[in-house]
Symmetry: C2
DNA sequence: GCAAGACATACTACTCAGTATGTTGTCAAT
DNA sequence: ATTGACAACATACTGAGTAGTATGTCTTGC
Protein backbone atom coordinates (compact mmCIF):
# COMPACT_ATOMS: atom_id res chain seq x y z
CA UNK A 1 0.00 0.00 0.00
CA UNK A 2 2.66 2.41 1.08
CA UNK A 3 4.82 1.45 -1.89
CA UNK A 4 1.92 2.37 -4.13
CA UNK A 5 1.67 5.88 -2.79
CA UNK A 6 4.14 8.70 -2.38
CA UNK A 7 6.68 7.48 0.17
CA UNK A 8 5.70 10.12 2.71
CA UNK A 9 2.53 12.12 2.56
CA UNK A 10 3.09 15.82 3.06
CA UNK A 11 1.75 17.38 6.22
CA UNK A 12 -0.44 19.67 4.15
CA UNK A 13 -1.97 16.82 2.20
CA UNK A 14 -2.62 14.92 5.41
CA UNK A 15 -4.27 17.98 6.91
CA UNK A 16 -6.49 18.32 3.87
CA UNK A 17 -7.56 14.68 4.09
CA UNK A 18 -8.44 15.06 7.76
CA UNK A 19 -10.47 18.20 7.04
CA UNK A 20 -12.18 16.52 4.10
CA UNK A 21 -13.15 13.53 6.25
CA UNK A 22 -14.74 15.79 8.85
CA UNK A 23 -16.62 17.92 6.33
CA UNK A 24 -17.76 14.89 4.33
CA UNK A 25 -18.99 13.38 7.61
CA UNK A 26 -20.86 16.55 8.64
CA UNK A 27 -22.43 17.57 5.33
CA UNK A 28 -22.42 14.36 3.33
CA UNK A 29 -19.89 13.58 0.60
CA UNK A 30 -22.10 14.94 -2.19
CA UNK A 31 -23.45 18.01 -0.44
CA UNK A 32 -20.03 19.12 0.85
CA UNK A 33 -18.22 21.38 -1.61
CA UNK A 34 -14.52 21.91 -2.11
CA UNK A 35 -15.10 25.43 -0.82
CA UNK A 36 -16.62 23.99 2.38
CA UNK A 37 -13.50 21.95 2.98
CA UNK A 38 -11.25 24.91 2.20
CA UNK A 39 -13.19 27.05 4.70
CA UNK A 40 -12.77 24.32 7.33
CA UNK A 41 -9.02 24.53 6.68
CA UNK A 42 -8.99 28.32 6.75
CA UNK A 43 -7.64 28.38 3.20
CA UNK A 44 -8.96 28.36 -0.35
CA UNK A 45 -9.69 25.63 -2.84
CA UNK A 46 -6.57 26.49 -4.82
CA UNK A 47 -4.65 24.78 -2.05
CA UNK A 48 -6.78 21.67 -2.32
CA UNK A 49 -6.57 21.48 -6.11
CA UNK A 50 -2.83 21.76 -5.89
CA UNK A 51 -2.70 18.44 -4.04
CA UNK A 52 -5.77 16.65 -5.47
CA UNK A 53 -6.81 16.64 -9.11
CA UNK A 54 -10.53 16.67 -8.36
CA UNK A 55 -13.13 16.34 -5.65
CA UNK A 56 -13.58 12.72 -6.67
CA UNK A 57 -9.88 12.04 -6.24
CA UNK A 58 -9.94 13.69 -2.82
CA UNK A 59 -12.91 11.57 -1.73
CA UNK A 60 -11.24 8.43 -3.01
CA UNK A 61 -8.04 9.21 -1.12
CA UNK A 62 -10.08 9.72 2.05
CA UNK A 63 -11.61 6.27 1.54
CA UNK A 64 -8.27 4.63 0.89
CA UNK A 65 -6.81 6.19 3.99
CA UNK A 66 -9.72 4.94 6.07
CA UNK A 67 -9.28 1.43 4.71
CA UNK A 68 -5.61 1.59 5.59
CA UNK A 69 -6.31 2.56 9.18
CA UNK A 70 -8.27 -0.55 10.00
CA UNK A 71 -6.35 -2.96 7.79
CA UNK A 72 -3.08 -2.13 9.51
CA UNK A 73 -4.52 -2.74 12.97
CA UNK A 74 -6.47 -5.90 12.22
CA UNK A 75 -3.94 -7.68 10.03
CA UNK A 76 -1.48 -7.53 12.94
CA UNK A 77 -3.59 -9.53 15.37
CA UNK A 78 -4.43 -12.50 13.15
CA UNK A 79 -2.77 -15.71 14.30
CA UNK A 80 -3.09 -18.54 11.76
CA UNK A 81 -2.72 -21.08 14.58
CA UNK A 82 -5.48 -19.60 16.72
CA UNK A 83 -9.07 -20.83 16.72
CA UNK A 84 -11.32 -18.87 14.31
CA UNK A 85 -13.57 -17.54 17.05
CA UNK A 86 -10.54 -16.31 18.99
CA UNK A 87 -9.09 -14.68 15.88
CA UNK A 88 -12.40 -13.08 15.02
CA UNK A 89 -12.76 -11.72 18.54
CA UNK A 90 -9.26 -10.26 18.41
CA UNK A 91 -9.85 -8.76 14.99
CA UNK A 92 -12.97 -7.01 16.23
CA UNK A 93 -11.18 -5.87 19.38
CA UNK A 94 -8.58 -4.28 17.09
CA UNK A 95 -11.07 -2.98 14.54
CA UNK A 96 -13.59 -1.20 16.72
CA UNK A 97 -11.27 1.10 18.70
CA UNK A 98 -9.53 2.10 15.49
CA UNK A 99 -12.89 2.88 13.90
CA UNK A 100 -13.84 5.04 16.88
CA UNK A 101 -10.46 6.77 16.79
CA UNK A 102 -10.85 7.63 13.11
CA UNK A 103 -14.62 7.98 13.07
CA UNK A 104 -14.97 10.70 10.41
CA UNK A 105 -13.12 8.50 7.94
CA UNK A 106 -15.40 5.57 8.65
CA UNK A 107 -18.53 7.63 8.37
CA UNK A 108 -17.26 8.54 4.92
CA UNK A 109 -16.64 4.86 4.21
CA UNK A 110 -20.19 4.12 5.25
CA UNK A 111 -21.56 6.75 2.87
CA UNK A 112 -19.56 5.52 -0.08
CA UNK A 113 -19.76 1.78 0.58
CA UNK A 114 -22.44 1.20 -2.07
CA UNK A 115 -20.25 3.18 -4.44
CA UNK A 116 -19.11 6.70 -5.03
CA UNK A 117 -21.86 8.43 -6.96
CA UNK A 118 -20.67 10.73 -9.69
CA UNK A 119 -22.48 11.54 -12.90
CA UNK A 120 -19.19 11.43 -14.73
CA UNK A 121 -15.77 10.17 -13.74
CA UNK A 122 -12.22 10.43 -15.02
CA UNK A 123 -10.05 7.40 -15.64
CA UNK A 124 -7.99 8.33 -12.59
CA UNK A 125 -11.13 8.29 -10.48
CA UNK A 126 -12.28 4.99 -11.93
CA UNK A 127 -8.88 3.50 -11.16
CA UNK A 128 -9.13 4.78 -7.61
CA UNK A 129 -12.61 3.31 -7.26
CA UNK A 130 -11.18 -0.05 -8.29
CA UNK A 131 -8.41 0.26 -5.71
CA UNK A 132 -10.97 1.09 -3.04
CA UNK A 133 -13.02 -1.92 -4.04
CA UNK A 134 -9.93 -4.14 -3.96
CA UNK A 135 -8.94 -2.81 -0.53
CA UNK A 136 -12.42 -3.48 0.75
CA UNK A 137 -12.42 -7.03 -0.63
CA UNK A 138 -9.00 -7.64 0.88
CA UNK A 139 -10.15 -6.43 4.28
CA UNK A 140 -13.46 -8.29 4.21
CA UNK A 141 -11.48 -11.31 3.08
CA UNK A 142 -9.72 -11.37 6.44
CA UNK A 143 -13.09 -11.83 8.15
CA UNK A 144 -14.43 -14.16 5.51
CA UNK A 145 -11.43 -16.45 5.95
CA UNK A 146 -12.03 -16.79 9.69
CA UNK A 147 -15.75 -17.33 9.12
CA UNK A 148 -15.02 -20.11 6.65
CA UNK A 149 -12.45 -21.76 8.90
CA UNK A 150 -14.94 -21.57 11.76
CA UNK A 151 -17.71 -23.16 9.72
CA UNK A 152 -15.31 -25.88 8.52
CA UNK A 153 -14.09 -26.56 12.08
CA UNK A 154 -17.62 -26.62 13.44
CA UNK A 155 -16.90 -23.70 15.75
CA UNK A 156 -19.36 -21.55 13.80
CA UNK A 157 -22.65 -23.02 12.65
CA UNK A 158 -23.04 -24.02 9.01
CA UNK A 159 -25.01 -21.30 7.27
CA UNK A 160 -25.13 -19.11 4.19
CA UNK A 161 -21.79 -17.37 4.07
CA UNK A 162 -22.97 -14.11 2.50
CA UNK A 163 -25.78 -13.62 4.98
CA UNK A 164 -23.52 -14.49 7.90
CA UNK A 165 -20.53 -12.41 6.83
CA UNK A 166 -22.40 -9.26 5.97
CA UNK A 167 -24.70 -9.50 8.95
CA UNK A 168 -21.69 -9.82 11.21
CA UNK A 169 -19.76 -7.00 9.53
CA UNK A 170 -22.72 -4.64 9.77
CA UNK A 171 -23.08 -5.48 13.44
CA UNK A 172 -19.38 -4.83 13.98
CA UNK A 173 -19.61 -1.46 12.24
CA UNK A 174 -22.78 -0.39 14.01
CA UNK A 175 -20.92 2.15 16.18
CA UNK A 176 -20.14 4.12 13.04
CA UNK A 177 -23.83 4.96 13.01
CA UNK A 178 -24.58 5.77 16.61
CA UNK A 179 -21.29 6.53 18.37
CA UNK A 180 -20.30 10.12 18.96
CA UNK A 181 -17.38 10.88 21.26
CA UNK A 182 -18.47 12.76 24.34
CA UNK A 183 -16.46 14.64 26.89
CA UNK A 184 -18.40 12.99 29.74
CA UNK A 185 -18.08 9.52 28.25
CA UNK A 186 -17.13 6.88 30.83
CA UNK A 187 -13.56 5.73 30.93
CA UNK A 188 -13.07 2.61 28.90
CA UNK A 189 -16.33 3.01 26.99
CA UNK A 190 -14.56 2.45 23.66
CA UNK A 191 -13.22 -0.82 25.02
CA UNK A 192 -16.65 -1.81 26.32
CA UNK A 193 -18.12 -1.16 22.87
CA UNK A 194 -15.38 -3.29 21.31
CA UNK A 195 -15.80 -6.15 23.79
CA UNK A 196 -19.57 -6.29 23.64
CA UNK A 197 -19.54 -6.00 19.86
CA UNK A 198 -16.99 -8.82 19.57
CA UNK A 199 -19.06 -10.92 21.93
CA UNK A 200 -22.28 -10.33 19.98
CA UNK A 201 -20.56 -11.03 16.66
CA UNK A 202 -19.12 -14.37 17.82
CA UNK A 203 -22.46 -15.39 19.31
CA UNK A 204 -24.31 -14.44 16.15
CA UNK A 205 -22.18 -16.93 14.22
CA UNK A 206 -22.08 -19.70 16.83
CA UNK B 1 -49.95 7.71 10.00
CA UNK B 2 -52.64 7.46 7.38
CA UNK B 3 -54.83 9.93 9.19
CA UNK B 4 -51.98 12.37 9.06
CA UNK B 5 -51.66 12.18 5.33
CA UNK B 6 -54.13 12.65 2.52
CA UNK B 7 -56.68 9.85 2.92
CA UNK B 8 -55.78 8.32 -0.43
CA UNK B 9 -52.58 9.03 -2.28
CA UNK B 10 -53.11 9.66 -5.97
CA UNK B 11 -51.75 7.08 -8.37
CA UNK B 12 -49.53 9.71 -9.94
CA UNK B 13 -48.02 10.72 -6.61
CA UNK B 14 -47.40 7.10 -5.76
CA UNK B 15 -45.72 6.54 -9.11
CA UNK B 16 -43.49 9.55 -8.51
CA UNK B 17 -42.46 8.24 -5.08
CA UNK B 18 -41.60 4.83 -6.54
CA UNK B 19 -39.53 6.44 -9.29
CA UNK B 20 -37.83 8.73 -6.80
CA UNK B 21 -36.90 5.78 -4.59
CA UNK B 22 -35.30 3.96 -7.51
CA UNK B 23 -33.39 6.99 -8.79
CA UNK B 24 -32.27 7.97 -5.29
CA UNK B 25 -31.09 4.41 -4.80
CA UNK B 26 -29.18 4.34 -8.11
CA UNK B 27 -27.58 7.79 -8.08
CA UNK B 28 -27.60 8.74 -4.43
CA UNK B 29 -30.12 11.13 -2.90
CA UNK B 30 -27.90 14.18 -3.32
CA UNK B 31 -26.52 13.41 -6.78
CA UNK B 32 -29.91 12.55 -8.26
CA UNK B 33 -31.69 15.58 -9.71
CA UNK B 34 -35.38 16.25 -10.09
CA UNK B 35 -34.77 16.05 -13.84
CA UNK B 36 -33.29 12.57 -13.38
CA UNK B 37 -36.44 11.41 -11.63
CA UNK B 38 -38.66 13.05 -14.26
CA UNK B 39 -36.71 11.29 -17.01
CA UNK B 40 -37.17 7.96 -15.21
CA UNK B 41 -40.91 8.66 -15.25
CA UNK B 42 -40.91 9.72 -18.89
CA UNK B 43 -42.23 13.12 -17.89
CA UNK B 44 -40.89 16.53 -16.82
CA UNK B 45 -40.19 18.10 -13.47
CA UNK B 46 -43.28 20.25 -13.73
CA UNK B 47 -45.22 17.12 -12.89
CA UNK B 48 -43.10 16.44 -9.84
CA UNK B 49 -43.30 20.02 -8.55
CA UNK B 50 -47.05 19.91 -8.91
CA UNK B 51 -47.22 17.17 -6.30
CA UNK B 52 -44.15 17.97 -4.16
CA UNK B 53 -43.10 21.43 -3.07
CA UNK B 54 -39.38 20.69 -3.29
CA UNK B 55 -36.79 17.97 -3.74
CA UNK B 56 -36.38 17.88 0.03
CA UNK B 57 -40.10 17.31 0.52
CA UNK B 58 -40.04 14.52 -2.07
CA UNK B 59 -37.11 12.83 -0.35
CA UNK B 60 -38.81 13.14 3.02
CA UNK B 61 -42.01 11.59 1.69
CA UNK B 62 -39.99 8.69 0.27
CA UNK B 63 -38.50 8.14 3.74
CA UNK B 64 -41.86 8.30 5.46
CA UNK B 65 -43.32 5.81 3.03
CA UNK B 66 -40.44 3.44 3.64
CA UNK B 67 -40.89 3.69 7.38
CA UNK B 68 -44.57 2.95 6.94
CA UNK B 69 -43.91 -0.21 4.94
CA UNK B 70 -41.97 -1.95 7.68
CA UNK B 71 -43.91 -0.53 10.63
CA UNK B 72 -47.19 -1.90 9.29
CA UNK B 73 -45.76 -5.38 8.84
CA UNK B 74 -43.86 -5.64 12.10
CA UNK B 75 -46.40 -4.05 14.42
CA UNK B 76 -48.89 -6.76 13.36
CA UNK B 77 -46.80 -9.68 14.58
CA UNK B 78 -45.99 -8.45 18.08
CA UNK B 79 -47.71 -10.48 20.78
CA UNK B 80 -47.41 -8.89 24.23
CA UNK B 81 -47.84 -12.36 25.79
CA UNK B 82 -45.08 -13.99 23.78
CA UNK B 83 -41.50 -14.41 25.00
CA UNK B 84 -39.20 -11.55 23.88
CA UNK B 85 -36.97 -13.80 21.81
CA UNK B 86 -40.00 -15.25 20.02
CA UNK B 87 -41.39 -11.79 19.40
CA UNK B 88 -38.06 -10.53 18.15
CA UNK B 89 -37.71 -13.48 15.81
CA UNK B 90 -41.21 -12.89 14.43
CA UNK B 91 -40.54 -9.18 14.03
CA UNK B 92 -37.43 -9.87 12.01
CA UNK B 93 -39.23 -12.52 9.96
CA UNK B 94 -41.78 -9.84 9.10
CA UNK B 95 -39.26 -7.03 8.66
CA UNK B 96 -36.73 -8.62 6.33
CA UNK B 97 -39.04 -9.81 3.51
CA UNK B 98 -40.75 -6.41 3.51
CA UNK B 99 -37.36 -4.71 3.28
CA UNK B 100 -36.41 -6.91 0.34
CA UNK B 101 -39.76 -6.28 -1.33
CA UNK B 102 -39.34 -2.50 -1.04
CA UNK B 103 -35.56 -2.41 -1.32
CA UNK B 104 -35.16 0.94 -3.13
CA UNK B 105 -37.01 2.65 -0.30
CA UNK B 106 -34.77 1.09 2.31
CA UNK B 107 -31.61 1.94 0.44
CA UNK B 108 -32.85 5.52 0.61
CA UNK B 109 -33.51 5.10 4.32
CA UNK B 110 -29.97 3.85 4.74
CA UNK B 111 -28.55 6.89 2.96
CA UNK B 112 -30.56 9.35 5.01
CA UNK B 113 -30.39 7.61 8.38
CA UNK B 114 -27.69 9.95 9.74
CA UNK B 115 -29.84 12.81 8.53
CA UNK B 116 -30.96 14.46 5.33
CA UNK B 117 -28.17 16.78 4.30
CA UNK B 118 -29.29 20.09 2.88
CA UNK B 119 -27.44 23.36 3.05
CA UNK B 120 -30.73 25.12 3.67
CA UNK B 121 -34.15 23.85 4.58
CA UNK B 122 -37.69 25.18 4.67
CA UNK B 123 -39.89 24.91 7.73
CA UNK B 124 -41.98 22.29 5.93
CA UNK B 125 -38.84 20.24 5.36
CA UNK B 126 -37.73 20.61 8.98
CA UNK B 127 -41.16 19.48 10.12
CA UNK B 128 -40.92 16.45 7.85
CA UNK B 129 -37.45 15.65 9.18
CA UNK B 130 -38.92 15.65 12.68
CA UNK B 131 -41.71 13.30 11.60
CA UNK B 132 -39.16 10.99 10.03
CA UNK B 133 -37.15 11.02 13.22
CA UNK B 134 -40.25 10.32 15.28
CA UNK B 135 -41.25 7.45 12.99
CA UNK B 136 -37.79 5.99 13.27
CA UNK B 137 -37.83 6.23 17.07
CA UNK B 138 -41.25 4.65 17.19
CA UNK B 139 -40.13 1.75 15.01
CA UNK B 140 -36.85 1.22 16.84
CA UNK B 141 -38.86 1.42 20.04
CA UNK B 142 -40.63 -1.78 19.07
CA UNK B 143 -37.30 -3.59 19.02
CA UNK B 144 -35.95 -1.78 22.05
CA UNK B 145 -38.98 -2.84 24.06
CA UNK B 146 -38.42 -6.53 23.28
CA UNK B 147 -34.71 -6.18 24.00
CA UNK B 148 -35.48 -4.64 27.39
CA UNK B 149 -38.07 -7.26 28.27
CA UNK B 150 -35.61 -9.95 27.26
CA UNK B 151 -32.84 -8.53 29.40
CA UNK B 152 -35.26 -8.17 32.33
CA UNK B 153 -36.52 -11.75 31.90
CA UNK B 154 -33.00 -13.10 31.59
CA UNK B 155 -33.71 -14.43 28.10
CA UNK B 156 -31.21 -11.97 26.67
CA UNK B 157 -27.92 -11.35 28.44
CA UNK B 158 -27.52 -8.19 30.46
CA UNK B 159 -25.50 -5.74 28.42
CA UNK B 160 -25.30 -2.14 27.27
CA UNK B 161 -28.63 -1.48 25.61
CA UNK B 162 -27.39 0.99 22.98
CA UNK B 163 -24.60 -1.27 21.81
CA UNK B 164 -26.90 -4.28 21.75
CA UNK B 165 -29.85 -2.61 20.06
CA UNK B 166 -27.93 -0.86 17.31
CA UNK B 167 -25.66 -3.82 16.67
CA UNK B 168 -28.70 -6.03 16.29
CA UNK B 169 -30.58 -3.55 14.08
CA UNK B 170 -27.60 -3.12 11.77
CA UNK B 171 -27.28 -6.88 11.48
CA UNK B 172 -30.96 -7.16 10.67
CA UNK B 173 -30.70 -4.48 7.98
CA UNK B 174 -27.52 -5.89 6.47
CA UNK B 175 -29.36 -7.19 3.37
CA UNK B 176 -30.11 -3.58 2.42
CA UNK B 177 -26.40 -3.33 1.66
CA UNK B 178 -25.69 -6.54 -0.18
CA UNK B 179 -28.94 -7.96 -1.46
CA UNK B 180 -29.91 -7.45 -5.08
CA UNK B 181 -32.83 -9.40 -6.50
CA UNK B 182 -31.73 -11.80 -9.20
CA UNK B 183 -33.74 -13.66 -11.79
CA UNK B 184 -31.82 -16.88 -11.04
CA UNK B 185 -32.17 -16.48 -7.29
CA UNK B 186 -33.15 -19.73 -5.55
CA UNK B 187 -36.76 -20.13 -4.52
CA UNK B 188 -37.28 -19.10 -0.94
CA UNK B 189 -34.01 -17.18 -0.71
CA UNK B 190 -35.76 -14.18 0.78
CA UNK B 191 -37.17 -16.43 3.50
CA UNK B 192 -33.75 -17.98 4.07
CA UNK B 193 -32.27 -14.51 4.51
CA UNK B 194 -35.01 -13.63 6.97
CA UNK B 195 -34.64 -16.86 8.97
CA UNK B 196 -30.88 -16.81 9.17
CA UNK B 197 -30.88 -13.10 10.03
CA UNK B 198 -33.46 -13.64 12.78
CA UNK B 199 -31.43 -16.55 14.08
CA UNK B 200 -28.21 -14.54 14.14
CA UNK B 201 -29.91 -11.57 15.79
CA UNK B 202 -31.40 -13.64 18.60
CA UNK B 203 -28.08 -15.42 19.16
CA UNK B 204 -26.20 -12.15 19.21
CA UNK B 205 -28.33 -11.04 22.15
CA UNK B 206 -28.51 -14.33 24.00
C1' DG C 1 -68.44 27.81 -20.58
C1' DC C 2 -65.58 27.95 -16.80
C1' DA C 3 -62.65 26.53 -13.10
C1' DA C 4 -59.26 23.73 -11.52
C1' DG C 5 -55.98 20.08 -11.61
C1' DA C 6 -52.24 17.97 -13.91
C1' DC C 7 -49.11 18.34 -16.52
C1' DA C 8 -45.18 20.51 -20.17
C1' DT C 9 -42.20 24.24 -21.49
C1' DA C 10 -39.35 28.14 -20.86
C1' DC C 11 -36.82 30.77 -17.82
C1' DT C 12 -33.97 32.52 -13.76
C1' DA C 13 -30.60 32.67 -10.30
C1' DC C 14 -27.42 30.37 -7.88
C1' DT C 15 -24.01 26.91 -6.67
C1' DC C 16 -20.35 24.34 -7.86
C1' DA C 17 -16.25 21.98 -9.97
C1' DG C 18 -12.59 23.06 -12.12
C1' DT C 19 -9.25 26.28 -14.55
C1' DA C 20 -6.31 30.21 -15.40
C1' DT C 21 -3.50 33.44 -13.52
C1' DG C 22 -1.00 35.81 -9.94
C1' DT C 23 1.83 35.93 -5.69
C1' DT C 24 5.00 34.43 -2.30
C1' DG C 25 8.42 31.73 -0.20
C1' DT C 26 12.01 28.37 -0.49
C1' DC C 27 15.89 26.31 -2.35
C1' DA C 28 19.71 25.45 -5.28
C1' DA C 29 23.05 27.07 -8.41
C1' DT C 30 26.22 30.55 -9.67
C1' DA D 1 24.53 38.21 -3.01
C1' DT D 2 21.74 37.25 -6.77
C1' DT D 3 18.83 34.83 -9.75
C1' DG D 4 15.78 31.53 -11.52
C1' DA D 5 12.89 27.57 -10.93
C1' DC D 6 9.41 25.53 -8.64
C1' DA D 7 6.05 24.33 -5.17
C1' DA D 8 2.33 25.91 -2.60
C1' DC D 9 -0.75 28.52 -2.16
C1' DA D 10 -4.66 32.69 -3.19
C1' DT D 11 -7.67 35.03 -6.34
C1' DA D 12 -10.54 35.60 -10.25
C1' DC D 13 -13.04 33.51 -13.70
C1' DT D 14 -15.84 30.15 -16.62
C1' DG D 15 -19.22 26.93 -17.92
C1' DA D 16 -22.42 23.53 -16.64
C1' DG D 17 -25.84 21.76 -13.87
C1' DT D 18 -29.50 22.33 -10.77
C1' DA D 19 -33.59 23.76 -7.92
C1' DG D 20 -37.25 26.15 -8.32
C1' DT D 21 -40.61 29.46 -10.66
C1' DA D 22 -43.62 31.43 -14.14
C1' DT D 23 -46.43 30.63 -17.78
C1' DG D 24 -48.94 27.95 -21.11
C1' DT D 25 -51.79 23.96 -22.53
C1' DC D 26 -54.87 20.27 -22.11
C1' DT D 27 -58.30 17.54 -19.88
C1' DT D 28 -61.92 16.81 -16.85
C1' DG D 29 -65.84 17.74 -14.10
C1' DC D 30 -69.62 20.56 -12.95
Amino acid sequence: MKDQMAPVMSASKSEILDAAAVVFMDLGVDVASIDDIARHLGSTKGRIYHHFASKGVLLSEVCLRAADFTYRKVALVIDPDAAPDKNLRNMILAHVPEVLRTLPYHKVIRQTYPGINQKSTTQVERDLHQRIHAERDRYEGLFRAELRRGMTDGIFRQQNETIALHGMLLLVNAPVIWYTPRADEPEGFALEIARQTADMAVRALS
